[in-house]
């Protein structure tokens, strides 16, 4: 302290004894340990994700680094069209157990994207529409019914959904539209879409319901009809949350395995048509990893696909998060 310090005037303590306000040592200890326990739980979850990522990375790395694997496949070979027979045009091929194994990734990536695209295009209108209906238009009693029923869709095991798509949906679609193949991107995408409807619905409905009642009343008091209120006020205000729901559904659709494994035809074809069969990245891993020789090039390639899938979902989620944040700031001027 400097020299000219002022001396606090002495005020005698006339109040009650401090003792009676003190925190018991037991409470303090419990606080400390509960805090540590909860932090430990949180960090274990993070650690698990990091460890999984490290494991996948370690198993995928030889595709880039190991010369042994390079005798069979390189990253370059996985992304360019391959020679089949002399004179025939080069093409993308996924033939991991042929005499000269071929590991073209583009058809798998395209397959995943096609299935996901169909799923989102199919699911988003239904899920968002249902969310708007149940939050804005439905009488309370019907809302109480709709919500659990839609969310029950999430409880249908994906193998059952896949079975339904394989046996029923595929035939219906083929007969209706006269497609060449029963099992194709659209068939798998629609089944996938049904599976992600509850994800999008739940998040979107929550976002719509979270719009403050005061804002809804403001619109009504200005003479807005229910639809005008929903479209011009509630939907824009809930847009960040609805978008987050779609992103969540997207992430789920990219990674979903069983449905596409059963309903997509599993043919790795490089084709823009949604009526051709597809083979997705996730289904490829599921179908082949159990049979593959541990440590072989094929094994490492499958992990490489896994890492790719991981990165893809991570990218989707991050971009979604970024966009949601921007949208929220644009609406309110505050982040969070």
């Amino acid at each position: 302290m400097s020299e000219g310090k002022s001396v606090a005037p002495h005020v005698p303590n006339m109040g009650p004894d401090w003792q009676q306000y003190s925190v018991r040592p037991g409470d303090r200890r419990r606080d400390l340990w509960m805090g540590r326990l909860i932090s430990a739980i949180a960090f274990s979850a993070i650690a698990a994700i990091i460890l999984i990522f490290l494991f996948i990375g370690r198993e995928a790395a030889p595709v880039i680094t190991s010369s042994e694997v390079h005798q069979e496949v390189t990253v370059a070979k996985m992304i360019v069209p391959l020679e089949t027979r002399p004179g025939k045009p080069k093409m993308y091929l996924w033939q991991p157990v042929s005499e000269t194994p071929k590991y073209s990734l583009p058809p798998l990536l395209l397959g995943s994207l096609k299935a996901t695209l169909v799923a989102i295009l199919f699911a988003a209108p239904f899920a968002i529409g249902a969310a708007i209906y149940s939050s804005e238009f439905a009488p309370p009693r019907i809302r109480e019914m709709i919500k659990p029923v839609i969310e029950m869709l999430a409880g249908i095991p994906s193998v059952v959904m896949g079975f339904f798509a394989l046996m029923v949906l595929a035939s219906v679609l083929k007969d209706t539209f006269g497609w060449k193949f029963r099992l194709n991107a659209t068939n798998a995408g629609i089944a996938l879409g049904i599976a992600i409807i509850p994800v999008i619905y739940t998040v979107a409905e929550g976002a719509l319901r979270a719009v403050p009642r005061q804002i809804r009343e403001a619109a009504q008091a200005l003479g807005a009809t229910p639809w005008a209120t929903a479209r011009r006020v509630i939907l824009p205000a809930a847009a960040p949350g609805i978008f987050a729901g779609v992103m969540l559904g997207l992430g789920r659709a990219i990674g979903e395995t069983m449905i596409v494994l059963m309903a997509s035809g599993n043919a790795a074809i490089w084709s823009p048509h949604l009526t051709d069969s597809i083979r997705t990245m996730s289904a490829t891993i599921a179908a082949e990893l159990a049979e593959v020789v541990n440590g072989s090039a094929h094994y490492h390639v499958l992990f490489f696909i896994g890492a790719l899938l991981f990165l893809l979902t991570f990218l989707v989620n991050s971009l979604g998060e970024l966009y949601v944040g921007r949208l929220r700031r644009r609406l309110t001027g505050v982040s969070g």
Partner: protein
């Protein structure tokens, strides 16, 4: 008669000389209101006078806000709520089968207790009522936005920032924006539910000045908890207690020579 000094009220009132019975804008007869089995209003008779400010006072839970909200049927949404009785707006029963509730609300505007701007720009907030009414012409909208903001005494503060976000305005500015938004659809009646209760004294003063300016063109009904505010800005005052309209009359009378003991007790601050 009462402990309050009422000279400031007396000084403000005489400008309004009533010749014959004052014109009635909203006539309420035998209004009962129920939330489920809970009765919130009991047999209310009330005449809202045209182009005047009518204040509704009374302790919390006395039914004054419920009464206000029956006048543009904002209570319709509440599950289990039910109004019995007649509310005539210029002679038309607002609960009648040929009254469109949307049209009613365009005619009877409302400003809420907590300012509730939309998460949009200042301009879009004011333009909202016009847009939902199907007006596309942006010259018309531009003009209405400017006029409404001027009426609400907000234009000078926001004219350079019309595309700024409404939620970034201060509380008082937000409330004036809500008033501008309500005025933009050119309502006939303006209902205000404690519009200044969440504001600081300076903002409150601005809102009160605004109400003063507006009353030549609009019929205003205002719920307030603030006795002085009711005395300052209104021509007529109704005192509600336990769902009943205890007394209704010219503000000067309610605050100086009320005929009911309960009114006197309330306005002098003896209870409530």
């Amino acid at each position: 008669m009462t402990a309050l000094n009422h000279s400031h009220i007396a000084a403000k009132q005489p400008e309004r000389v009533v010749v014959g019975p004052p014109p009635v804008k909203i006539q309420v007869r035998g209004l009962n209101f129920f939330y489920g089995s809970n009765q919130a209003l009991r047999n209310v008779d009330f005449d809202v006078i045209t182009h005047a400010v009518t204040a509704l006072i009374g302790p919390s839970g006395c039914g004054k806000t419920t009464f206000l909200r029956t006048m543009n049927r904002m209570n319709d949404q509440i599950p289990g709520a039910r109004a019995v009785g007649t509310v005539l707006l210029d002679g038309t029963d607002i609960h009648g089968p040929d009254v469109d509730v949307t049209a009613l609300r365009r005619r009877v505007g409302m400003v809420f207790q907590r300012s509730n701007p939309f998460p949009k720009t200042i301009y879009e907030n004011v333009a909202f009522g016009l847009r939902i009414a199907g007006i596309r012409d942006h010259y018309v909208i531009d003009e209405a936005v400017e006029n409404s903001l001027r009426l609400a005494a907000l234009w000078d503060e926001v004219k350079d920032n019309l595309n700024g976000l409404a939620l970034q305005l201060s509380g008082g500015q937000q409330q004036r924006l809500c008033i501008a938004r309500a005025l933009a659809v050119k309502p006939d009646v303006l209902l205000m539910d404690e519009p200044a209760s969440a504001l600081d004294p300076i903002s409150t003063g601005k809102i009160e000045e605004l109400i003063e300016d507006l009353k030549s063109r609009y019929t205003i009904v205002i719920v307030t908890h603030n006795m002085q505010q009711a005395a300052r800005i209104s021509e007529y005052t109704g005192f509600f207690y336990m769902g009943e309209l205890i007394e209704y009359g010219p503000t000067v009378k309610i605050f100086t020579t009320p005929s009911e003991k309960r009114t006197e007790d309330y306005v002098t601050g003896r209870f409530g």
